[in-house]
């Protein structure tokens, strides 16, 4: 069936079998392999992408069913000069990734979370991340990275506000 959707600002038009999972479509059809598959039952969160600006498990969607949507994957986080965004930078700074397999899912989850709660406590961060599983880091550094990213994003917003006024 014919499918058209937009990923990271670019429109794609493809033929897909209805059962083709969105995660497989992104990875093998569009070559966006940063979205990873860890379980195919929606538990681990490694496949998390944004659908119309909100997190979703791409392993639990059929590509054909998100026709017309606007998706964001990890590849869409860097800026036009391929520079890491503040959340990515904070992850690097705080050693919040080891093998990196779960990381794209965390990055998108963090973006959505900080968009809603720009100044979270560590307990709130832990609660927001509880549906993304990491087997390597033990989470402590991820929590620190998210706190740092929140501060950086607030500072950026403050700067933009100052510049705008």
């Amino acid at each position: 069936m014919q499918l058209q959707l937009s990923v990271n600002g670019k429109t794609y038009s493809r033929m897909v079998e209805p059962r083709y999972l969105l995660a497989d479509f992104l990875r093998h059809e569009l070559g966006l392999k940063g979205t990873h598959i860890g379980c195919e039952h929606g538990v681990c969160g490694a496949c998390t992408v944004l659908i119309n600006g909100r997190t979703a498990r791409s392993c639990l969607h059929f590509a054909i069913d998100v026709a017309g949507a606007e998706l964001t994957t990890v590849e869409g986080l860097v800026d036009e000069n391929d520079q890491l965004d503040p959340v990515q930078q904070a992850f690097r700074q705080h050693h919040a990734l080891q093998c990196g397999f779960c990381t794209p899912g965390f990055l998108l989850t963090v973006h959505e979370f900080l968009g809603r709660n720009p100044d979270p406590t560590p307990a709130q961060i832990r609660e927001a991340l509880t549906n993304n599983i990491c087997r390597c880091t033990g989470y402590a550094n991820i929590v620190k990275a998210v706190s740092a990213a929140a501060a950086a994003l607030r500072a950026n917003a403050g700067t933009r506000q100052a510049e705008a006024s």
């Binding site: 990873h36 538990v43 890491l84 990196g100 397999f101 549906n131 993304n132 390597c136 033990g138 550094n141």
Partner: protein, 787 residues
């Protein structure tokens, strides 16, 4: 032994170069690798029975599906490959072979009975469902206790009593230790099956070269050279025609330190069809089929004085080996590990053990982070706490009275394991101080119920077996693990450094930490050093990344190779600068005269000279600027740490919260503290998982009832504590570089510490906490009396 002088990059928390591409989603994991258009995709047909005879296989319906290229049964695969033989060589072991694909019998749920090849992975799964297999079910045994009952059904006809390995040992005067004016205490401890459960399931991908017979096997593994040797042997091809390349690996933990049937299958079929053959595991297969670990039963008896000093220890240990001996770590690893390490840092001279590995109709056992150390220390540390409770002596004090002291080092334990250096008492005192232990105990004098919850504190004071050179593997009977590791360091004509090591990381940041080490060895700038690992065409032979060995073994090889390269740079620079090589210092990619920094030559110039782009070389000097070397580390290098866990148990719902977690750790010289801390964090949380919530549950018929992440529970951010970690550095004197390993330490310390903390929290209730996982409903039973 020569320690590397403290300088430059060692000891610095350098940020990882791996993050640049991993954060962008550009890491190439197995399923991310580009595929030729005609790649054949594998799906495997799994046995639904724990023990059965295969009476009929009909592949015609599967073959008729469009896109299916071939369906091979075990009989057809047997023409292409040999059954897997771990080659374990140790007294008391009965070997068994594992058919790559079952022929007449299946012995565990998940064992392969047919291989489907199709032009698309979805089609391969469709076809796998269409393969018709008929079975005659046979009686099975799923649990250790079932398997050892007299006349229990046999997993293998040639393994009587389902015991594939048995060993006993006694040293000192055990009878004497248990007689006279001593007290004795007996206890049993049990841990359930668990697994590494990396977030990335496994996969492997065999690509024939365009010309000739060579094959490149990409596989998500920790042991590329062992895979190469093993696979080449089992498909009967020259090892020189097989190249193993490790992509990014999404977590290993020992689960990927195994040669699996699928690796043999894809290479054999790539040779047969002369097409790329690819297999990607799904999560259900991952949980069913990746090596399992730590289903252990310890029966421990200790004799001790009224002052709590242990005079003797007796151990009976049963480990569940699953249905087949895995390759290469087999089913002797855990049993021998528990027996050899249980004494930990304690002065125990009179010791006897009887150990056995029991085969059952479940997934084969292998090496998972820590191996038997988390369970043997759960037993040992549990005994020490019990001794303390019995005698009314504080558990920390009991430990003090039994710890090997620095004045007694080097220490050889009762089974001959040498502890060259260590800081057992120092770590303990510091950990107790940081935890506020004395104040917590004082508060407990009024009972464990504090602020509405039962609160407890648990200690694990342990040694960790790291490094493990060839003699160490031989002593455990593991014939397929070489024990050596290698490095090649080369300075290219541009003056940049290329180094390759016989390792394969899965998140430990090797590309960064080994760059730090190489840069220091040859005096290069960190940014000028490139590390490559995990490619058997480029990396010299070695044992891979297992058993907390990389800093010691590969680090030692880097030091040896680095010395040679550095020596040559010095000789060339000395010749040019007309001084003695001893007067040359190397730093920042430049060789200069000691004390006269402006008098120097950079590596680029020296390299050009070495490669023939300049004047002739000095008499006797060969062209090139590289060296390779091999390191066989000591039999084992013993690291140590103390973990202290503080927990709160809710009296109503019996859930456990880890409130504070303290680690004082000694892994000798630390290359990158940030990375070491990360290893400890991750290991501790895996330990919390094992202590509180993880278990592969098999029913009595050998069906795994929780083969999904909905039912095999992994700890999340809300289950994990914050950490306080301090390092003490007591370099090893036996191994080059002074490094000790750390990769497994987190799990090893966490399971005993958490179990002891829960037991301490329940101390008022006289509950015996001696098995894991400690699910809330189990703790509830302990609190309210078993019904």
């Amino acid at each position: 032994m020569t320690a590397v002088p403290r300088s430059g990059y060692i000891g610095r928390s350098v940020h990882r170069r791996e993050d640049e591409y991993l954060l962008r989603g550009k890491g190439q994991f197995l399923d991310d690798l580009p595929e030729p258009r005609d790649t054949l995709h594998v799906a495997l047909v799994l046995s639904p029975h724990a023990h059965a005879r295969i009476t009929r296989i009909d592949v015609s319906a599967a073959m008729a599906l469009e896109g299916v290229v071939a369906v091979l049964t075990g009989a057809e695969m047997a023409k292409l490959v040999k059954p897997m033989d771990s080659g374990t060589t140790i007294d008391g072991y009965i070997n068994s072979l594992r058919p790559v694909v079952a022929t007449d019998k299946v012995r565990f749920v998940g064992e392969y009975v047919a291989v489907v090849l199709a032009d698309h992975p979805y089609v391969a799964h469709d076809a796998a469902e269409l393969v018709e297999v008929e079975y005659d079910s046979l009686p099975s045994v799923a649990h250790i206790e079932q398997a050892v009952v007299p006349d229990a059904p046999l997993v293998h006809d040639h393994i009587p009593g389902n015991v594939s390995f048995r060993s006993e040992f006694s040293t000192g005067d055990v009878a004497g230790a248990f007689s006279g004016d001593v007290l004795t205490l007996k206890e049993s401890f049990r841990s359930g099956w668990v697994g590494g459960v990396p977030i990335e399931p496994r996969g492997c991908f065999a690509l024939p070269e365009h010309v000739g017979d060579a094959i490149t096997l990409y596989t998500s593994t920790q042991i590329p050279h062992i895979v190469r040797t093993g696979v080449a042997d089992h498909v009967n091809m020259p090892e020189s025609l097989l190249r193993v390349v490790v992509p990014e690996v999404g977590g290993g933990f020992g689960t990927k330190a195994n040669v699996y049937p699928e690796e043999i299958i894809v290479v054999a079929l790539a040779r047969k069809f002369r097409r790329a053959v690819k297999w990607v595991q799904d999560r259900r297969e991952e949980l069913l089929n990746n090596i399992h670990a730590r289903n252990h039963i310890y029966h421990v008896e200790a004799a001790f004085t009224r002052d709590g000093v242990i005079t003797g220890l007796k151990l009976e240990l049963l480990t569940n080996g699953g249905a087949y001996t895995s390759f290469p770590f087999g089913c002797t690893l855990e049993a021998t590990g528990g027996a050899r390490m249980i004494m930990g840092p304690y002065r125990i001279r009179n010791y006897a053990y009887r150990i056995a590995c029991v085969v059952t109709n479940t997934c084969p056992a292998g090496a998972y982070r820590g191996v038997a150390q988390p369970s043997c220390f759960m037993a040992m540390e549990g005994m020490l706490d019990r001794i303390g409770r019995l005698l009314g002596i504080d558990p920390a004090e009991v430990r003090r009275r039994n710890l090997v002291q620095p004045s007694e080092m080097p220490w050889v334990n009762a089974v001959g394991v040498r502890y060259d250096t260590g800081s057992y008492a120092q770590c303990l005192e510091r950990a107790l101080e940081i935890s506020g232990y004395a104040a917590i105990r004082a508060r407990q004098s009024g009972g464990r119920l504090v602020d509405g919850k039962y609160r407890g504190i648990g200690i694990c004071c342990f040694t960790e077996s790291t490094g493990t050179g060839a003699p160490g593997w031989r002593a455990r009977g593991l014939a397929r693990v070489p024990g050596i590791d290698s490095a090649m360091i080369r300075i290219d004509p541009t003056g940049k450094v290329f180094a390759t090591i016989s390792q394969a990381g899965s998140g430990q940041g090797h590309l960064t930490t080994f760059a730090q080490l190489v840069a220091d060895q040859v005096g290069a700038r960190l940014e000028d050093v490139t590390i490559v690992e995990g490619d058997t065409a480029l990396s010299p032979y070695g044992s891979g990344t297992v058993a907390s060995r990389s800093a010691i073994a590969a680090g030692g090889a880097v030091i040896k190779a680095g010395r040679q390269v550095a020596a040559k740079i010095r000789r060339l620079a000395a010749d040019r600068l007309e001084v003695s090589p001893d007067d040359i210092l190397l730093s920042d990619g430049r060789a200069h005269v000691a004390g006269v920094p402006e008098l120097g030559i950079d590596f680029r110039q020296l390299a050009r000279w070495a490669y023939g782009f300049d004047a002739p070389l000095p008499e006797g000097e060969q062209h090139g600027l590289e060296a390779s070397d091999v390191y066989d580390p000591p039999m084992v290098t013993i690291a140590n740490a103390v973990h202290i866990a503080m927990v709160a148990v809710d009296p109503q719902d019996a859930t456990v919260t880890i409130e504070k977690y303290v680690v004082v750790h000694d892994c000798g010289r630390v290359i990158n503290p940030m990375i070491v801390d990360g290893q400890i964090h991750g290991g501790v949380v895996q330990g919390i998982g094992g202590a509180l919530m993880e278990e592969f549950v098999y029913d009595d018929e050998g069906q795994m009832v929780n083969a999904s992440l909905l039912d095999y529970l992994l700890p999340t951010s809300m289950d994990a504590p914050d950490f306080v970690i301090e390092h003490i550095e007591t370099p090893t004197t036996d191994a080059l570089g002074g490094f000790k390993g750390v990769g497994e330490a987190g799990v090893i310390g966490a399971i005993p510490a958490v179990v002891n903390a829960v037991a301490d929290a329940l101390a008022d209730r006289a509950a015996n906490v001696n098995q894991i996982p400690l699910r809330p409903s189990y703790i509830y039973r302990l609190l309210h009396g078993a019904s």
